[in-house]
Point group: none
DNA sequence: TCGCAAATGGAATAAATGTTCCATATGGTC
DNA sequence: GACCATATGGAACATTTATTCCATTTGCGA
């Protein structure tokens, strides 16, 4: 049937990978090129044409065709089908509009995930409503100008500030993450002229609010992130960002918060780069 | 030019979403069907034909065609192209990240935020493509059945596991967060029958991989989260989730990862509740 | 109930994509 | 250096998929 191989075709992505690893090195130059490229860009198959793949791999379409056959497929279409099913296999039970968690669990974890994804889309869309370019820009500038940044956030907000801490580190922007683990450095270490970024969602963390207020009294610039406008931080902060997260049966992810803070950190990085 | 609308075509997923929400309810029955279905299955567009989408939406292909035009596109192909680019965009080199950012910074931090929001939408969409309901369900069950959960993740993955840790705590599910801070408990504390959830994104953290492998050898169940299929965890893990994050000038947020793990944690909580 | 405008679905057509074939090139062996 | 087996890429062909057209249906206002 297939001229180049009598091996049976892989039936899932794992098998494709196995076969790829098995073949790489043993194939003719151009086919090896296909294998190497494909190995690194498996995810492109589902959305590309043979010509696309061939071009990116640097070979002629007919070569890529033969490569598919060497893998055991009848042709590109068959291989592509394998990579496409995984996209279509996941059928979120989105269709039926479900209101509470228990019915959501009826549809299995897939339906639950679909609900959270949907909530994520909405959260991201509402970001545009609560954040202005000027507000974000002012905060980015304030933070970029500070010689040292302090990040505070407890509980749900901790993931947000710890992620900021990681990214700022990568960008080589001096920042300290104040976690409540072992009570390392409190607000006492914040110096005048430095900047604090405090994140707290309702119900607000008293510790975070206290830290921010004390830092402010010590002459630091205080910026904040919250999920509602009437966060106590608003009273004294030099800038406050709002990221409202849509919830699923009372549970909230952090899509808007992380997207907003990621953009903020990158903006800070870009500003510092410019200096 | 286009008979059904003189509106200009959306240029990104965010705009498609907005236009969809704007249009739903105002369109004729069949077109509304298309809009409703498409709103819930955005992720299918990249890998489906018009007939596929039309069939799933319960309309004739020509109707779906007109729906694309009502959205402002010239046809299905043009719309599909919009959903395909996200997969084909290649990542720029690390060093050039800030440099490639310049164009985005031109529009101020607001434009940057919009870029990250757009990337977030795409990440959430592709989540439905890399995760199956069964896979997620199996992992949720395995983790719910374990007497103790261990969470491991360094660097970019740390925010993910620390958020899981927080949520699991709220749900009163016994879990230990292993951070590398001060080298608290290594894999030695993991007992047979317990479960480990290890998150690591490429380039993978050797520490996380080692932890997971040792735990596996000690008889624990190992589940993982990564951003690519060929993560070393795949070799020995009992279950692996994939969350691919779209990037902006080389920077990635954590939308897909957090949404996925949030759904996972809630599923675990619901399963334990049932016991 | 009739007439009209809009919507609908099926069938025809156009475009693109996948696949195969074959002439030419390449590399190894005697 | 000639021969043979194998690899390669372009061009022809076949198939699938997108798009348009049009006859029929539907729903609304007179």
């Amino acid at each position: 049937m297939s001229p180049t191989t009598d091996q049976t075709a892989p039936t899932n992505v794992t098998e494709v990978l196995e076969r790829l690893d098995e073949l790489i090195g043993t194939l003719p130059k151009r086919l090896d090129q296909c294998a190497a490229f494909t190995r690194r860009h498996l995810h492109l198959i589902a959305v590309s044409t043979v010509s696309d793949m061939a071009r990116e791999a640097g070979v002629a379409p007919s070569v890529y065709m033969r490569f598919c056959q060497a893998l055991g497929f009848s042709g590109y279409s068959e291989m592509q089908a394998l990579f496409r099913v995984q996209y279509t296999a996941f059928r979120p039970a989105y269709d039926e509009r479900i209101a509470t968690l228990r019915p959501e669990m009826e549809g299995g974890p897939g339906a639950l995930l679909a609900e959270f994804a949907e909530a994520g889309h909405k959260s991201l869309m509402s970001l545009a409503n609560t954040v202005t370019s000027e507000g974000l820009g002012a905060i980015a500038q304030g933070m970029a100008a500070a010689p040292l940044l302090h990040l505070v956030g407890m509980r749900r907000a901790f993931a947000v500030v710890s992620n900021m801490s990681y990214m700022l580190g990568k960008l080589e922007v001096p920042a300290v993450l104040h976690s409540d683990t072992g009570r390392l450095g409190g607000p006492g270490v914040v110096g005048a002229g430095q900047a604090v970024f405090a994140a707290t969602f309702s119900p607000f963390s008293q510790e975070t609010l206290d830290f921010a207020r004390l830092a402010k009294e010590r002459g630091a610039l205080v910026y904040g992130l919250s999920d509602v406008e009437d966060c106590p931080l608003a009273e004294f902060a030099d800038g406050l960002l709002i990221a409202r997260e849509n919830e699923v049966a009372g549970f909230r992810s952090l899509n808007a918060s992380l997207t907003l803070t990621t953009a903020l950190v990158v903006a800070i990085g870009a500003l510092q780069e410019g200096n």
